[in-house]
């Protein structure tokens, strides 16, 4: 089957949303100052784009994101594999990770400020800790769900230790891991924005907070749209491709 083109569907869908939004805002259920129209939001976007602050914000956030996410993915994969293969680690370190992950990013912010000061380090800490869990648990599930025959065959043919991990566990668990990366990325992105919002320290999160501080709802929604759009672009440029590649290799598409 050839990939069908869904761009028209998407366009209709999103245009539909904007139209409904405009209708609601014109109906005047809520006053303009708390429920702006699409037009006002677009105005804010154009303004932010023309003075460059939007692009600078995106770049700053992306930079922090990439470091935080790298840490989260590396740590999450290693931890996930060890948790799946060594029950003692699962029961000790693994349980601690699960516990740590119940804690919302906002709750980390005070400690991050105390421990790292008002630095990028603090923001990256909050980002990484927000994302590592999704990677860990997906890697763990992936490795746990590997068809035992694969592992047996590999062991039988002499794969051991790190060879077993790189040549079998990681590729066999890869469909799950991608799902972990996708989520890790989304949570890291949230984490960056959330941390910037609370640290009030450049980036898209800062712009969001600025809008909020001045009660400029249309600015808030404009930045939320930018956050979403950036998220979607990354998702489709990086992760969808990775996913399609792996799926077709496994004969699942």
């Amino acid at each position: 089957m050839l990939a069908k083109n869904f761009i028209p569907h998407r366009i209709i869908f999103y245009v539909g949303i904007v139209v409904v939004w405009q209708i609601i805002s014109m109906a005047g259920v809520w006053p303009d100052n708390i429920f702006p129209s699409p037009y006002e939001v677009t105005e804010d976007l154009v303004y932010g784009a023309s003075d460059g602050s939007l692009f600078y914000g995106i770049a700053t956030s992306m930079w922090r994101l990439s470091i935080g996410l790298t840490i989260a993915i590396t740590g999450g994969v290693v931890l996930g594999i060890f948790m799946a293969r060594v029950e003692a680690i699962n029961q000790t370190v693994g349980s601690l990770v699960l516990g740590l992950q119940s804690i919302p990013s906002i709750a980390w912010v005070p400690l991050a400020i105390l421990w790292f000061g008002l630095t990028d380090g603090g923001i990256i800490f909050v980002t990484a800790i927000g994302a590592i869990f999704a990677v860990t648990i997906n890697t763990y599930t992936g490795v746990k769900n590997i068809d035992p025959h694969f592992i047996e065959a590999a062991r039988n043919m002499g794969a051991k230790g790190s060879q077993l991990i790189t040549a079998v566990l990681i590729p066999a668990a890869f469909p799950y891991m991608i799902s972990g990366f996708k989520q890790g990325w989304a949570f890291a992105w949230r984490g960056v924005i959330g941390a910037e919002l609370l640290f009030s320290f450049l980036g898209l999160g800062f712009l969001l907070n600025a809008g909020r501080s001045l009660n400029d709802v249309s600015q808030v929604i404009a930045i939320m749209l930018v956050i979403m759009a950036t998220g979607l672009v990354i998702d489709s440029v990086v992760f969808k491709r990775l996913e399609n590649k792996v799926m077709s290799r496994w004969g699942l598409r």
Binding site: H149, A154, N156, M157, V168, P171, W250, G251
Partner: protein
């Protein structure tokens, strides 16, 4: 020299609340260079026995001695061809075949040389770059055989490797197997449900009883080689083996 010795191997499995005694005390001695074919009713424990020898499963009683030392782990000197393929879907056919060589650290060119030989033998050269989901069942089975043969192990454990092959391909491979065995004098344990196949290949055919299974009979087979399925001289042997098997299947039906 005794290569492998199974001493009173007993294996239980849990099935919900009840325990199933699969192997009821298998005793078997395999000399270096033996080609032992194992036959027995479906579900009697042939695969389980091979898995225990490979070190993939632990027996509940008894032990396997390999060159006199007890087997506790898997090892590349005992390579298994799994009944259900277990090919790696993330690797191309050629990479599947070379997997064990790569694990052993053999350089790329040498790997390619070895694997090409076996791909050719298995008539898979054209599919070297395909993924496993693109193969038919019989082609997968041939990949699995090639993957084991390239490892050139001391002991080959083959679990119904020819089950999904058409008669002609099978005949070709029966010839190849005998050649390989004669040239390398490997020790081979070969599970099959095809009695003719067992008599063509084996220096010895071991007949499993029904569950809890023991080895009911061992039949020596010294007919001259190369043998083919149609050899009249093997007929008598086949009759003997079938005579041993028939009551077992009846029992399992009861």
């Amino acid at each position: 020299m005794t290569k492998l010795e199974a001493k009173n191997i007993v294996k239980y499995f849990n099935h919900g609340s009840h325990k199933l005694k699969a192997l009821g005390g298998i005793d078997l001695k395999v000399e270096a260079g033996d080609f032992v074919c194992l036959v027995g009713p479906s579900g009697c424990g042939k695969s389980t026995f091979l898995r225990i020898i490979a070190g993939l499963e632990k027996p509940d009683e008894g032990e396997i001695l390999f060159d006199g030392r007890p087997v506790t782990e898997t090892g590349p000197e005992r390579i298994m061809v799994f009944q259900e393929g277990a090919l790696f879907p993330w690797l191309k056919v050629q990479d599947n075949v070379e997997f064990g060589l790569k694990m052993a650290g053999i350089p790329k060119e040498e790997r390619a040389k070895i694997s090409n030989r076996y791909l050719d033998m298995m008539q898979l050269t054209k599919f070297a770059d395909s993924y496993t989901y693109q193969l038919s069942t019989g082609m997968k089975q041939r990949v699995a055989i090639a993957r084991a043969l390239v490892m050139d192990p001391d002991v080959l454990l083959m679990d119904e490797p020819f089950a999904a092959l058409d008669a002609q391909t099978r005949d070709l491979l029966l010839v190849e197997m005998q050649l390989i065995w004669e040239k390398t004098k490997k020790t081979i344990l070969f599970v099959t449900h095809n009695v003719a196949e067992a008599t063509v290949l084996g220096t010895k055919v071991a007949v499993f009883s029904n569950r809890p299974s023991i080895i009911k009979k061992e039949v020596e087979n010294n007919s001259p080689r190369p043998r083919v399925t149609e050899d009249e001289s093997l007929l008598k042997l086949q009759q003997d083996i079938l005579a041993e098997l028939r009551p077992e299947v009846k029992k399992s039906k009861a």
